[in-house]
Symmetry: D2
Subunit: 261 residues, 4 copies
Amino acid sequence: MIASTAPPTIRVTVWNEFRHERANPRVAAIYPQGMHQTIADALGRDADLSVRTATLDEPEHGLTDAVLEQTDVLIWWGHMAHAEVADAVVAKVRRRVHEGMGLIVLHSAHYSKIFKSLMGDTCSLSWREASDKERLWVVCPGHPIVRGIGPFIELPVEEMYGEPFGIPTPDELVFISWFTGGEVFRSGATWRRGHGRVFYFRPGHETYPTYHNPQIQQVIANGVRWAHTGLRIQDDAPNVAALEPLPADPDAAHRSTVSHV
Amino acid sequence: MIASTAPPTIRVTVWNEFRHERANPRVAAIYPQGMHQTIADALGRDADLSVRTATLDEPEHGLTDAVLEQTDVLIWWGHMAHAEVADAVVAKVRRRVHEGMGLIVLHSAHYSKIFKSLMGDTCSLSWREASDKERLWVVCPGHPIVRGIGPFIELPVEEMYGEPFGIPTPDELVFISWFTGGEVFRSGATWRRGHGRVFYFRPGHETYPTYHNPQIQQVIANGVRWAHTGLRIQDDAPNVAALEPLPADPDAAHRSTVSHV
Amino acid sequence: MIASTAPPTIRVTVWNEFRHERANPRVAAIYPQGMHQTIADALGRDADLSVRTATLDEPEHGLTDAVLEQTDVLIWWGHMAHAEVADAVVAKVRRRVHEGMGLIVLHSAHYSKIFKSLMGDTCSLSWREASDKERLWVVCPGHPIVRGIGPFIELPVEEMYGEPFGIPTPDELVFISWFTGGEVFRSGATWRRGHGRVFYFRPGHETYPTYHNPQIQQVIANGVRWAHTGLRIQDDAPNVAALEPLPADPDAAHRSTVSHV
Amino acid sequence: MIASTAPPTIRVTVWNEFRHERANPRVAAIYPQGMHQTIADALGRDADLSVRTATLDEPEHGLTDAVLEQTDVLIWWGHMAHAEVADAVVAKVRRRVHEGMGLIVLHSAHYSKIFKSLMGDTCSLSWREASDKERLWVVCPGHPIVRGIGPFIELPVEEMYGEPFGIPTPDELVFISWFTGGEVFRSGATWRRGHGRVFYFRPGHETYPTYHNPQIQQVIANGVRWAHTGLRIQDDAPNVAALEPLPADPDAAHRSTVSHV
């Protein structure tokens, strides 16, 4: 049998659009080196995680084949420039998820090409930038993503996202948020796609210090470990031989010659 | 209250690639006017269904805005020419599903652009054209899609599709198939996407008379009624006002001016 | 094929503990004839519904074999006397659900024997009787249970129920509630059990006029139609013959003589 | 943050009815010390598992409070004597599952009191003792329960179980079985109940050497690790104070004095 062993090092890439931080002094004041760096610094304190970053304006958005090859879990933050992400990069990320890479989708990346492509849904929601408090309630207390988190996380000010959220039925619903203004939102949810795992986690508007919050950092770290499958399985649609005897096939000579794939 | 009323007429469009039937005399012998016509004729016998057809080689693949506007449920069969379906048409069909249109995806259309786009998954499977019998077991006996169907449907010869099938967890698993050669397959499954409903139904290889089978016809007719939502809701991501009092917002002057959508 | 026909009459039984109304003048002032009668009166205005009531202190709790035989959908409200419901009656109701009867579980009946028995879970939650407003958000806008309901239902005062709610993953999550005091709750959810359908719907504390609210009445009526399966299928564990040839069985003489069931 | 550490020792109790082995020489020949001992021996070879056994005819069925206290994952095999399991023991096991204990339910234990109690469903199926081969197909290839297992497991002879299987929608469907005689079955499935995890795994008729099969042993060992939550959370229905300001409550004096629980 396969016995459990020491946990492997998980290779994490934190991807960020990194535009707000350079354009808006208020955002820069909170995240001087970008949200990706704040998240990477937090994750990097854990011995089992090996963390790098990548951003939109790097060549190939920083997601070269080599980087993607060496990424077990990808974290994604985007907002104002979803349309600038090259379709070819999205296709590569999608293929890696199907092969077994984990993907953690943060906040406004609900509208990223990669998330919409993996969900097949509108991913729409209602929203408001005001002075709402957000309280994220744990609705799946035994889930590894909420390890070390109490009954809820409270964020003093956050952008509001409201239902209905245009997503497929989650495999697991982990958080539901309450907002001062009267709305609710499914703010933590998971899905499998191919051999990969996807975790959407709502908080993180650029004008608030959300990614400095230790509980938010903990959920992201937990999410990384949960999303890490260790798998790398190429997609395939094999033409297979029968495992049991078949009756004689009088039509064999007439079989379609069109490949299935 | 809203009382139930007589069932509405459901407007169905049966879409078919319609290439095998014109290229392969064996297929033409089974479906002289195309598989779409066989399916449409069967559905057309039901008083509550109003049926039209559309095919790949018509202008806009027969799926003009006018046709899609007047379609409540779309049935899709494709195989050898998935790549020839225009991306713009796929985008329109996808939008209509999100608005509430039903979609029934048949057999080799598991690899159609529209199904892959709505699933976000590989949609891969193993396969074999041989002399397998297929027996589709009903695993959700109370589901409206199997109304009038007994414990299983038996097809004397069909192409084999085998697990693993690269699909998201179905909202409902309706059929599981047994094949002579030793494989199994989740052969009937449903998902919601946006306000629309999607039903994948496996049988229907072009070289067999599957769509002449009354039970298969019944499942498709049941599927049409199940997939009919009567909804037409435009996608939207509204910026909404609070429903409850908010604290004063000292940051209002600094709000992002980037539209969320 | 089976064509759709005019909707059948659905036979509804509204069951109520009917203790608070007789013990507490404040409750009696709101529901002089009991909550069951208010709900039954509302449903009875719909031509396709045939409604009766039953209460705890009637013989057999009003749920004789004859009543259960003639019930397509059972609605259940209980709170202070769950323990007084006879186990034999619970077993009969459970059997009827498995055969295809619908069950709508209201408010504090989350802790009823029948609901706990069908869920297999704790069904626990946190709670508060205070001055919370409840806003029930529709998170599954195309669902038949929310037909005619807008984006949310607002109840000026209700008891608070908070997460985590100890239920199995719902087949469908229909409503999530927001409460003034800062909590959220999965307040409308569905499950299949056997051939039957179960809908849990949260609102309805006895000291508030919730069941006089037209939207709440509409959801219950929608729920009745959704939960009506028209099925009556006895449970069975048949010993079945093979459908395909088996190899010779050298062990036949040694087969266990213990019946499987 | 919480960093991952070396895997904990998981305390496993293998429970067996242990009647067939003592009554039927053919079963005794395969499992001289009982199926529980064969399973325990296999699990005991893994350094991270600490294994004990318990059987029906021991006092309290071997499941004293002390044993249950020290059990992280319970494995259950029963068949001919389900009715002899004391309801009080079933209630204790159920409570432990809700608190976070894992439960692995094998083969004919689909009809055990504990499984039926946790599922809330009929748990019925069709069956045949003959000479069927069983092939268990992995339909969720990335799942930890199938770590080290290839595309399928083949068992030369097994009892047949056929659909429909009267279970709630699984959280995860892991295996689907093919049988020679023409049937299929959802033979590996998982659910959460309370804070605990439940895995049903079909194979293991007493007259076949199934539990000597290394792949079957591997799946059970994987299942133990998957089902181990490390949680111990008492059920509770707390009356909680509001987290946000509430409007004044004119009705406070009239609040029900009936405890919610």
